[in-house]
């Protein structure tokens, strides 16, 4: 297993290299110019050109790419064109809020979606099943920002239970931290809960028709034991896969959620960097996200061996 993990980690290197080349090329050919944004609306074309030169943006593609790769190999993500701060420091500032949002959303999803999916499969065709699946369709259909605004209206403005916006670091206390994350996590988690609940239901339905389930029932095993010990474990592989894939959904959704709830996370940093054409920041974030995604896939593969002993690498 250890050698498999090491091989997979080594295999991520070419993937990261391709991502790096792709991102750099895409930004190079994309329209827009950070020098124009920096110079402001009243700047002359000469001023813009001077700024472009000072940023090194007038150099040939290969020279720019080469120096960027050289820095990356030395662990330096570069410096933001706009803030003059190291990209790694800017990402570091924003990592906490985004990680907090994703962890709370992930936990919320697993706690809510998996039992809902199991119950829907168990009561397949009943009113309960229809209600749960109706909720899933609803969750899929509503954009994150609509859910966000509704939640903010009900729980922040109307009931005055929670704040509208912002983020409190965990170091300032668990409850203040959680208080700021509840609404964004529910808003972000809606689509995710719907997805995982549907997949859980489908996987469970298939498993529940297997002979060994019938045998378990015949042996007089309790419903809870059948569902959560025998069936769920065997249905876990597709569920784990979807939870993993869903992390990409979370990354995308975090961009909108962080804007709606004014959370200073990586999603907002990404949007700001794209709108300003802050190339080093965009490149750093995309590299980070792609690395996280590769890592999540590896973790999913490793998790398969835990939920299904037949899988060996």
């Amino acid at each position: 297993m250890l050698s498999y993990i090491l091989r997979r980690i080594v295999a991520t290197l070419p993937v990261m290299a391709i991502v790096a080349l792709f991102v750099f090329s895409l930004l190079y050919i994309a329209p827009g110019d950070p020098a124009v944004v920096i110079a402001g609306d009243q700047a002359s074309p000469e001023d813009v050109e001077r700024i472009r030169q000072s940023l090194g943006l007038d150099r040939p593609f290969l020279v720019q790419f080469g120096s960027w790769v050289w820095r990356i190999l030395h662990g330096d993500l570069g410096t933001s064109i706009f803030t003059n701060l190291p990209v790694s420091a800017m990402i570091g500032q924003r990592l906490g809020p985004t990680l907090s949002l994703m962890i709370v959303t992930l936990l919320l999803t697993i706690v809510v979606a998996v039992p809902l999916g199991v119950v829907a499969a168990w009561k397949a065709g009943s009113l309960i099943d229809r209600v749960i699946m109706g909720f899933a369709v609803f969750g899929f259909s509503l954009p994150v920002f609509v859910v966000g605004y509704m939640l903010a209206y009900i729980f922040a403005l109307e009931l005055e239970w929670l704040p509208v916006q912002g983020y409190t670091p965990l170091t300032q206390g668990f409850l203040p931290w959680l208080e700021n994350l509840i609404l964004p996590s529910i808003a972000l988690g809606c689509v995710y809960i719907a997805l995982v609940a549907r997949i859980t239901r489908a996987a469970m339905l298939e498993v529940l028709q297997q002979d060994y389930i019938r045998t378990a029932k015949a042996k007089g095993l309790g419903q809870g034991g059948i569902l959560f010990i025998h069936a769920l474990k065997n249905a876990a592989v597709p569920i784990v896969t979807v939870i993993g894939i869903g992390i990409a959904l979370l990354i995308g959704g975090a961009v909108v959620t962080e804007s709606v709830f004014a959370i200073p996370g990586l999603g907002r940093l990404t949007i700001d960097a794209i709108l300003r054409r802050d190339y080093p920041v965009i490149q750093g974030i995309v590299l980070l996200f792609s690395f996280v995604y590769v890592l999540v896939n590896l973790m999913i593969d490793v998790t398969y061996t835990l939920v299904d002993p037949r899988i060996r690498y």
Binding site: G40, E158, P176, V260
Partner: protein
Amino acid sequence: MDRRTVLKGLAGAGSLALTGGLSAPAIAQGAAARTLRFVPQANLANFDPIWGTQYVVRNAAAMVWDTLYGIDSSFQPQRQMVESEEVTDDGTTWTFKLRPGLKFHDGEPVLSKDVVASLTRWAARDPMGLMIKALQQELTAVDDRTFKWVLKQPFPKMLYALGKNNSPCAFIMPERIAQTDPFKQISEYVGSGPLKFAKSEWVPGAKAVFEKFADYSPRLEKSSWLAGGKQVMVDRVEWVIMPDPATAAAALQNGEIDWWENPIADLVPVLKKNKNISVDIGDPLGNIGSFRMNFLYPPFNDVKARRAVLMALSQEDYMRAIVGDDNSLWKPLPGYFTPDTPLYTEVGGEILKGKRDLDAAKKLLAESGYSGQPVTCLVAQDQPITKAMGDVTADLLKKLGMNVDFVATDWGTVGSRRAQKTPPGQGGWNMFHTWHAGADCVNPAPYTAIRANGDKAWFGWPTSAGTEKEVASWFEGKNLDEEKAAIGRLNKAAIDDVVYAPTGFFLSYTAWRKNVSGVTKGPLPLFWGVSKSA
């Protein structure tokens, strides 16, 4: 249901539901009253007011760095860091003396050498600074508090240049910082103004914090815009960046923020209904909407085609698209200068007045030789103002019988594409939309968009000898009457040649909670004199 409807509903519902202050802030009541939480118009992405000339940077910098002079609400430069000045009879040698007791935020005294370095860096980037630099013989420190600017020719607008509030302002920094290449960004933010920048708390895109500078020595006069005594009444000013207007509206209603610089027009009615919130015009100088036509290529290389567009356009259509039904927020603008300012004029603006004559405009367009070629119209969709104007323009051009190549894109792309001088079909363009802060349009000094010196002019590269002649006349003007006369002629020449198309004058609101007092109207948010009760 679209995003705009949802956010309007949310904010509206909130205004009915709320009575104020909840979701206990993390800071204690006393400390909360000493902290002013402000939502600025945009993200403070960099903090070098000479290198980056965006308004949001200028606004933050005005708290941190002081200027030698400050323009007051009557557009007159008043002494700020300067105690006295002398100019020789021939107008070529200016000698300035600094006030005693001025200190930088690191405790060091402000000296003439700092001023010389700061003015040198500023003059390399500012349009007026460049003009002075072109006339400069020497700029030297005479002693610690005295410095001298010797010119080859008189420059009557010297004090205006040193005190103007248009970006970049002539902010005074320590010499070691001001010696940075003006095309490179500074990395140390030691200021000379009433508030210190807390760099350690800066999260670009999320938060910027400014703390009261205890050793700042304000002038004794009453404050007026950038002039007078800048008395800071709170300990901290926290800028909270909120990209989503609905969130900002809800946070203001909820008491999570104290002052929102620039609420969008859609949300103003619900904010006005909230008894805990005051809403008023923020910047009385407002903005001038505009679209520019490319003088280099057909059809707009012909003045008849440009005049045809001007003849047909309805400023009311543009303004209603931007500000909605609130008539107090816009004015027609038959000219190029900011209304209700000393030099405002309508001379030569007849083509923009009265009933629109589409038939005459079509006839004029035909005379220009327009034969149906595509007109590439750049419209940034991520800026509500340009998007609204772009939609109106597309409709206008179609009514004129023009073949519109509508390029819906983002502001970043417009920003770089408008600099392209290639033909429209090869990456260039025929028209793009923008707007100008009214503060930049009070006179020709900061008004880059009015310049019509061809290749050296702003995007669109207009050529108008008459306009350029009158810009020079204004600079030479010795009194207000001479300046007014020059501006009248300038306005006429610029309209005759259609340097650009003004789409109207519009204002916007600012909103703050009623426990905040001292908010004043100005070309930028002014934090001195603003206090907050618990």
